[in-house]
Every structure is written in structure tokens, then in C-alpha cells.
């Protein structure tokens, strides 16, 4: 795959506030890349810099190797799907989708064909003469996607496009977006704060916080091998425990030593351990090193969320097994369930 966009040491200041602190990122052709992070982390600003709505305070934006950070948005080969769609209310569906082509003064028949094709792609055949303000949220969303894609951009930017939809509709649209991306075969850069959305659609996930990139990786990497406490706690729920790496493949926490699959740390280095709640099993106390008392049980549908209080801390466990409040239990996990990461301050 070829590099399409390179962000080099990008910073952005709004007045006296620094919202981007040196972003370095390579984006490839055909990639579905997601910028994931809590609100205010700089993900939307990064997207707007790629789109051309903001100019970086410092750093470079390369598109096919050419610096474009001073090129106005209407000269870039990218198109955007906005958070609240930003459809033009005074135009019907057809006119909205045809807007970009009309600006380019294309032949009327060509425009008609292209728009029809797009309407078909997003499943809105026959909606051309509808008033956009009378469409449902999902339909407006499809119009917004069609309006952007009809211009055949090299990159499609999507700024939290599903944020305004209900849960069911969001699931459907996730699938649909992935399908569309595969069909048109272009790069999608997707901004969201929803980790589930990010994990289920992306080829690459970029986790951001406080204007910095925390981790770049595939969804499984991000989930299974979080590089730090922030990523671990932001992606899914975790038990994060201070510990010491005795030596390669041996870690100590909560007063016990455990075998693990991690290596490459210094001997006796202070580290943090991530234990995913679904990786913990509740067993009889005599079968496990760590034991404690069940403090609460919440039914979550597929599983129970059980809080177990041990002498050192409270663990969160997701399990299909039931244990009543007050019972003494043991917590069991294997070496591959222990994820060791560098200890860092601040989180």
C-alpha cells in the first residue's frame, strides 16, 4: 500500500491553548483509519486540518508527497461528511448531491448519471426530488455520504457521522459504511469517540488524548496490547494494577508472582498490569492465588458484572457465571491474560 497522507509534527494553537502537540501519522491508500479519543483530544482538529478548514500552527501535511497545508479546502482532493450532515436545506436531495459537480460545471447528463449511481450506492434510489429537511436522520446521513463521494475524492473524511443516530440505526450504518468503503476503494478517515465503532470498522485505530497520539495499531492490537493506562482504560473496561516486572515472563502484583508472556522490560522495573474483566474467571477460593468477597452483582444482558473486593483492591469481572453477594471467591486468569505496560504518570 502507498502512503497517501503524511502528517509531520503537526501542532495547533487556538489563542493560548495548544490542542495538537506534535502529531505524526501516515495514512495509506484504501485504509479505513479511525481517530479515536475523548472530546477535546484534538481528533476533529486533525481532521479539519486535513480537510483544509484549519491551518496548522506548525508542521506539515503532505498529500502524495506534496505539502498542502496552505491549499484552500476547495482545491483539495478530499471530501467531508459533517457531524450534523450540513446538507443544504434549500436544495432537494438531487441538488445537494449534484452541488459539487455543478460547481465544476459538468455536463447535465453526466451529473444526472453520477447522482443516480450514488443514490443507488447509498440505497436512496428514487429519493432525488425529496426535500432534505423531511428525511430521517439515517437518510440525511446517506445523502451526506453520497454528496461527498460523488466527487470521487481520494480520501473521505467523516466527522462523528453517526453521532446523531439511535443505537440500532448506528449499527446498521456502521456495516453500511464499511461496505461502501470496500466498494469505492478509497481511504476513509473516521473520527469518533465511540471505541466500539472504532474497533468494529477500522483497519487502523489511532487513539488520541490531550493533543497527542497514544497508540496506533489494528483494533486487536489496541484492545489486547494497550501501550499505556489511558489506552487501556479508554478502550473497554480494565482492571489496572501497579506491579513489578521481576524478570522476563514473570510479574509480581498484589503480593503474588505470576507467569506472563511479556518480556523486554528491565528486571524489577515498576510496571502496570491490565486485566480485562472478561478474562477473569470466578472459581472456588482454593483454586486461585487472589481471593476476595463478592460486593455487587449487576445483570448486563450477555453477562454479569461482578465486583470482588480483595485485600488489595476491587476487581471488576465480566462472566456468565453467577455468584451471590457475600460469597468468598477466587480470581483465576492465565499468563496470556496479563498485559504488562510501562508505568506512566498522570493517569
Amino acid at each position: 500500500m502507498n502512503k497517501l497522507i503524511e502528517l509531520k509534527n503537526l501542532t495547533k494553537n487556538f489563542e493560548d491553548q495548544q490542542v495538537l502537540r506534535g502529531i505524526n501519522l501516515d495514512i495509506y491508500e484504501n485504509e479505513f483509519l479511525t481517530l479515536l479519543g475523548p472530546s477535546g483530544c484534538g481528533k476533529t482538529t486533525t481532521l479539519r486540518i486535513i480537510a483544509g478548514f484549519e491551518e496548522p500552527s506548525d508542521g506539515q501535511v503532505l498529500f502524495n508527497g506534496i505539502e498542502i497545508s496552505k491549499v484552500p479546502p476547495y482545491k483539495r482532493e478530499v471530501n467531508t461528511v459533517f457531524q450534523k450532515y450540513a446538507l443544504f436545506p434549500h436544495m432537494n436531495v438531487f441538488e445537494n448531491i449534484a452541488f459539487g459537480l455543478n460547481i465544476k460545471k459538468m455536463d447535465k447528463n453526466v451529473i444526472r448519471q453520477k447522482v443516480e449511481r450514488m443514490l443507488k450506492l447509498v440505497g436512496l434510489e428514487g429519493f432525488g426530488s425529496r426535500d432534505v429537511t423531511l428525511l430521517s436522520g439515517g437518510q440525511q446521513q446517506r445523502v451526506a455520504i453520497a454528496r461527498a463521494l460523488v466527487n470521487e475524492p481520494k480520501v473521505l473524511l467523516l466527522d462523528e457521522p453517526l453521532g446523531a443516530l439511535d443505537a440500532k440505526m448506528r449499527k446498521d450504518m456502521q456495516r453500511e459504511l464499511k461496505k461502501i468503503q470496500q466498494e469505492v476503494g478509497i481511504t476513509f478517515i473516521y473520527v469518533t469517540h465511540d471505541q466500539e465503532e472504532a474497533l468494529s470498522m477500522s483497519d487502523t485505530v489511532v487513539v488520541m488524548n490531550d493533543g497527542e497520539i497514544q497508540q496506533i495499531g489494528s483494533p486487536t492490537d489496541i484492545y489486547n496490547e494497550p501501550e499505556n493506562r489511558f489506552v487501556a482504560s479508554f478502550i473497554g473496561e480494565s482492571n489496572i494494577i501497579d506491579g513489578i516486572m521481576i524478570k522476563d515472563y514473570l510479574v509480581e502484583f498484589d503480593g503474588f508472582q505470576f507467569e506472563c508472556v511479556d518480556k523486554g522490560f528491565e528486571d524489577n522495573e515498576a510496571i502496570e498490569v491490565v486485566l480485562r474483566p472478561e478474562d477473569l474467571d470466578i472459581v472456588e477460593p482454593d483454586r486461585a492465588k487472589i481471593t476476595g468477597t463478592v460486593r455487587s452483582v449487576t445483570f448486563k444482558g450477555v453477562h454479569y458484572e461482578i465486583l470482588v473486593e480483595t485485600s488489595a483492591r476491587t476487581y471488576m469481572i465480566h462472566t456468565t457465571d453467577f455468584a451471590p453477594v457475600g460469597r468468598e471467591v477466587g480470581l483465576l486468569f492465565g499468563p496470556e491474560d496479563i498485559h504488562v505496560m510501562c508505568r506512566m504518570g498522570g493517569y
Partner: protein, 621 residues
């Protein structure tokens, strides 16, 4: 019950509509009246419309009103829309600060804006006229456009412009293809507001225009002295125009919407281009015409400033033709207003103020001496009007009209015995609620002081206090109506038995209603003179003298006194009128023999303020 409620709501609606539209209906009906009266409909006629079309002064005012309104609407709409768009993108502090500042001109009383603008134009030495009026209108229309466009802009999704640019539109295309179509209702509303504000503005226009440039409001205001049904004709035309515009504004979108379904977008686009082109042409025509109107000719120009309805306008044209010059003729409502404009540095060559004001202007050195050897018709002047106290030896002034103030009475209601009581008849309980006083502190205190046997120029506070008591007593026992120039029309219709009027107005009323007669009480009254003077800064001294000389010519003086109705200062005209038009109308001949008659002397500020305060109290209840 339900039926009653429905009836009541309909009744209420009807009442509202009557309240709103009856005055307009009356105006429209009386514009077709064949006589001058505003109370008797004597038959259908189009004479007032003919008068209107042949009156070049009114037609040029219509031109000024329409072009100023169109230009200021277009310019302020563009400015205001740009500002609103800019504000929506600026920082919160700046935005709120500017929006608050923007409210000041809206909330400011017109008179304050008017005076400020007048002072501004004076201080930068900009000659007042078409352009100052246009600038002033733009300045007071723009805030209204901003307030009506801004909420629309704020309600837009802030990403709309970005979305357009994202799709390849340049910022200008994003503005014209996306932003403007969406805020169009706000822009239209702002433009409509601006147009109406500009079209019917009086106060600001009055103060910032000059050099003979007048809009409809100024003309109408100046014409109200003598009720002139031409105004009704003008008003009717304006109403028709407004109704047509409103119909267009409301009906066109409906038609367009219907058509939209049948037409394809291509021809619609083209049509919009045509409308734009047409609008642009209109603006250019207005501009060119405005420039033409502003800089007419290279002839000598004389600036004359006179009271409203105080000259036969044909005489101005005649003078222009005879002397190959342009007369810029302006009118004022009161001597005080004239003084304000003069002291603000406005250029005038010839003024026609009253006696006491001439005294003041001489004292404050606003005038230059008359070169009497240039006034060839000076021998025609009556000796009775010369060498009066306000300008001994007539060094600075040449008389124009003169007269007295007296009581106009209905001979069918007031006996000669009663009227011979003089001013005291105004206290006669027989006429309670049946008389008009003149709504002017000067004239009312003159009446009271004379009734008490004092001088009307007294400075004695005790006497003034007694006069005040007299006025209060008269107010409480007699229920008089304090009227302005509407008294003329009301007395022609014989609405009340007694009225205090100026002799010239009395002559006119008596010529229209033979039951009326005029009496100047032996206790004395105000003998007044209006005279022509030349300002110190006059730039056409020769032409100014020629104008004054022209006004004294026998035929001109006769035409003028016939038209205006006031008493001529030229002996031949004075005598001719008594034999013809005003034969037997005593009011035309001022009573110059009354031993107690006086001429007003210029009052210093202190005493003037005292009179003003007391008069306010008289009118307070």
C-alpha cells in the same frame, strides 16, 4: 354562548380594521374631492392629481424620496448583511459588544441622530443635499438590516459554508449559492424595513438635507400650513404603491413555488440572472440621475430660506427665467428652527425671518446691510412698514409681509357687543368649549398680557405671573382647544365660534367662509413684520438684491399676496387687493392705529425660558 363569543371576536377584529384603515380611507376619498375642504365631499374630481403632476416641487421630492430609499436600501442591505455574516464568525466578546453598539442608533431618538448627523456634515464641511441625505439614510438603515439578518445567520449550521467549500465552491460561491439563499428571508425583511424607514423618514432628512433637496415627508410637512388636498393625492399614490409592493412580496413566492415544480432549474437560474441584471441597471440609473440632480448646471445659484407656504412658487420659476439663475428654495417651520440651521453653518443668501428674529440676527452679526441703491422698486414700499423698532432705518431688512394677531369670530354666534369686549371675550362663559387658542407661548402670553393691560414685551415677573394666572383661569373655565395651523381648516368649516389667528390666515378664512369676521382688540395686539435680509456670508450679493427687488415689483407683489393671503408691503398690491380679491375683508388691512399695539422685541434666554416653562404648565392638564 359560543355564538356570542364568535360575534365578539369578529366585532373586535372589525374594530381593529376600522381603526387601522379608516384614516387611510378618508385620505383616499378626499383626494378625489372637487373642493378644497377636508370635511365636505362636494363631488368627484381628479384636479388634485393634476395639481400634483404639474407641481414640479412635489415631483422632484417624489424623485428624491424614491431614489434615496432605493439606493439606501440596496447599500445598507449589502453593508448590513456583510456585517452580520462577519459578526457571526468573530469572537464572542467582539460580537456582543458590536451588537450592543448596533442597538444604539436603533434606540436613539431620531432627533438626536438627526442633530448629530447635521453637526457631522457641517463640521466636515460637506454641503447638505442629496448626498448627505443618502449617507444619513444608509447610516440609520444599516443597523436595522443587521438586526434582521443576524439571527438568520446565527441559526445556520456553522459547517454549511465549509461543506460548500469542501465540495469545491470558492468562498464567494459558497456565499452566493448556499449562505445567501438560506438567509434570504432575513435579508428581504431587512431590506423592506430599510426601504420603509428611509421612505417615510422626516426628522433626520429634514436636518441633514438642504440646498432645496426635499423628500416627500419634508414637502408634506411644509404644506400642512394650508390644508392642501394635493397631499391627499400624493398620499393615495404612496398607499397604492405600498399595497402593490406588499402584494408582490406576498404573491410572488406563491407563484414561484407553483412554477418551480414545472420548470427545470436551468431556466430558473437564468431568470434569476435577469432579475439581478435589472436591479443593477436600476441602481445605476438612480446613481446617474442622483449625480445629475446633485450637480445641476453651472448657473449662478441663490439660496433662499423662507417660512413654509409663504410664497407663490411660480414666482421662483419666473425669477429663475428672468435672471438666468437657479434658486434653491428651502422652508422652515419657525424662526427658531431657521436660526438653528443658520448657526450650524448652512449656506443661505436670503432669509425671511420675523421682526424679533431680525433683531437677534443683527445683534449677532449674521446679516449684511442692504444696498438700497440696488433696490429700484423701493419707492413702492408703504411708509407704514418702514423704520420699525426691530431695524431702525431699515439698514438690514426689506419688508415682505406684515399683519396683526386678532380674534376670528363667527358672526352668527358672537354678537358685536360680545366681540367688543376684546381679549376678554375669551373669558366669556357663553363660549366655553367653543374657542381655539393658538398653541404658541409667544402668542398666548401676548393675549394674556394685553388683556391685563401690560406690555407684551414686559420683563416684570409679577406681570408675567399674572398673565400666567390669567391663562390658567382661562384654561380651567373655558376649556379652550390649543390648536396649530389646523385652526384654518376648522374655522373655514365653522367648527368653533372664536379663534386666535394671524391676520393673513384670517383673510383667507374669511374669503372661504363669509360668516367669519376678524377683530383686533383695542387693548392692543402684536403688530408683526416679516422681512427679507441678506446673510453676511452671502456669495451672490448682486443676485440677492435682484431677488429682493423682484419681490417688490408691483406685479410680483400682487401675485404673491394673492397666493399667500398675507398683507403686502407694496402700496399698489395692497390697494389692489382691497378692491379685488379681499374686498370687504377687514383682516387684510392691519390696524396700525391701535395705540396699544406693539412689535415683539428679542427676548433674552432667561425670560424666554420662563415663558416656555409657564406655557408648558398651562398646557400640562
Amino acid at each position: 354562548m359560543k355564538r356570542l363569543r364568535r360575534f365578539l371576536s369578529r366585532f373586535y377584529m372589525a374594530l381593529c380594521f376600522i381603526f387601522f384603515y379608516l384614516p387611510i380611507l378618508v385620505t383616499v376619498i378626499y383626494s378625489f374631492n372637487s373642493s378644497k375642504s377636508l370635511t365636505n365631499f362636494t363631488g368627484f374630481s381628479l384636479r388634485w392629481y393634476e395639481d400634483l403632476l404639474s407641481n414640479s416641487e412635489i415631483m422632484s421630492a417624489v424623485y428624491v424620496s424614491v431614489t434615496v430609499a432605493l439606493l439606501s436600501t440596496v447599500i445598507s442591505t449589502v453593508l448590513g448583511t456583510m456585517t452580520a455574516l462577519g459578526l457571526s464568525k468573530s469572537r464572542k466578546f467582539l460580537r456582543e459588544y458590536l451588537l450592543n453598539v448596533n442597538n444604539i442608533p436603533i434606540l436613539n431618538p431620531d432627533i438626536v441622530s438627526a442633530i448629530s448627523l447635521m453637526l457631522l456634515f457641517s463640521s466636515i464641511g460637506m454641503p447638505k443635499g442629496y448626498w448627505t441625505m443618502l449617507l444619513a439614510h444608509i447610516s440609520f438603515c444599516t443597523p436595522f438590516v443587521i438586526t434582521s439578518v443576524y439571527p438568520k445567520v446565527r441559526s445556520l449550521d456553522p459547517n454549511l459554508a465549509n461543506a460548500a467549500m469542501d465540495l469545491g465552491a470558492t468562498p464567494f460561491q459558497a456565499l452566493t449559492k448556499v449562505i445567501l439563499p438560506m438567509i434570504r428571508p432575513g435579508v428581504f425583511a431587512g431590506a423592506l424595513l430599510a426601504f420603509t424607514m428611509s421612505f417615510d423618514d422626516f426628522v433626520i432628512s429634514y436636518f441633514v438635507s438642504g440646498n432645496g433637496v426635499k423628500n416627500i415627508s419634508i414637502i408634506v410637512y411644509n404644506m400642512t400650513k394650508r390644508i392642501n388636498p394635493t397631499i391627499n393625492a400624493l398620499s393615495t399614490i404612496v398607499i397604492v404603491v405600498i399595497v402593490v409592493i406588499l402584494l408582490c412580496v406576498n404573491v410572488i413566492p406563491v407563484i414561484r413555488k407553483k412554477k418551480k415544480n414545472t420548470e427545470n432549474s436551468y431556466s430558473k437560474h437564468r431568470k434569476r440572472t435577469y432579475i439581478g441584471a435589472a436591479a443593477a441597471c436600476l441602481i445605476i440609473v438612480c446613481l446617474v440621475a442622483g449625480i445629475w440632480a446633485a450637480g445641476k448646471g453651472g448657473k449662478k445659484t441663490l439660496y433662499v430660506y423662507n417660512a413654509g407656504e409663504y410664497i407663490d412658487p411660480d414666482l421662483l420659476t419666473q425669477f429663475e427665467d428672468e435672471y438666468d439663475c437657479t434658486v434653491i428654495y428651502d422652508t422652515f417651520e419657525s424662526n427658531e428652527m431657521m436660526y438653528t440651521k443658520l448657526s450650524s453653518g448652512e449656506r443661505y443668501d436670503v432669509l425671511v425671518p420675523s421682526d424679533y428674529m431680525i433683531e437677534r440676527l443683527i445683534r449677532e452679526e449674521y446679516l449684511q446691510p442692504i444696498q438700497w441703491d440696488r433696490i429700484t422698486n423701493k419707492d413702492g414700499l408703504m411708509s407704514e412698514v418702514m423704520d420699525k423698532s426691530y431695524d431702525p432705518g431699515n439698514v438690514y431688512s426689506v419688508p415682505y409681509f406684515w399683519g396683526t394677531v386678532g380674534i376670528l369670530y363667527d358672526t352668527t354666534q358672537v354678537s358685536s357687543e360680545d366681540i367688543s369686549q376684546g381679549w376678554d371675550v375669551l373669558m366669556n362663559p357663553k363660549y366655553k368649549g367653543n374657542l381655539y387658542m393658538y398653541d404658541s407661548e409667544r402668542d398666548s402670553f401676548m393675549v394674556a398680557l394685553k388683556a391685563l393691560g401690560y406690555s407684551m414685551n414686559t420683563h416684570n415677573e409679577e406681570e408675567i405671573q399674572k398673565a400666567y394666572d390669567w391663562l390658567i383661569a382661562q384654561r380651567d373655565t373655558m376649556n379652550p382647544v390649543y390648536a396649530g395651523d389646523d385652526v384654518i381648516d376648522n374655522m373655514i368649516s365653522g367648527n368653533k365660534a372664536l379663534a386666535i389667528v394671524y391676520s393673513g390666515d384670517a383673510s383667507y378664512i374669511m374669503s372661504e367662509n363669509e360668516n367669519m369676521d376678524y377683530y383686533t382688540p383695542g387693548q392692543g395686539t402684536n403688530l408683526w413684520y416679516d422681512a427679507m435680509v441678506i446673510t453676511k456670508d452671502c456669495q451672490e450679493t448682486e443676485l440677492a438684491h435682484q431677488f429682493i427687488d423682484f419681490m417688490l415689483r408691483d406685479d410680483v407683489a400682487l401675485a404673491n399676496t394673492e397666493y399667500v393671503g398675507y398683507t403686502s408691503v407694496v402700496a399698489s398690491a395692497y390697494e389692489a387687493m382691497q378692491e379685488t380679491t379681499y374686498a370687504g375683508i377687514g383682516a387684510y388691512v392691519p390696524d396700525i392705529h391701535g395705540a396699544n399695539n406693539e412689535i415683539f422685541v428679542y427676548q433674552d434666554t432667561e425670560i424666554k425660558q420662563l415663558f416656555a416653562e409657564l406655557w408648558t404648565k398651562v398646557k400640562a392638564q
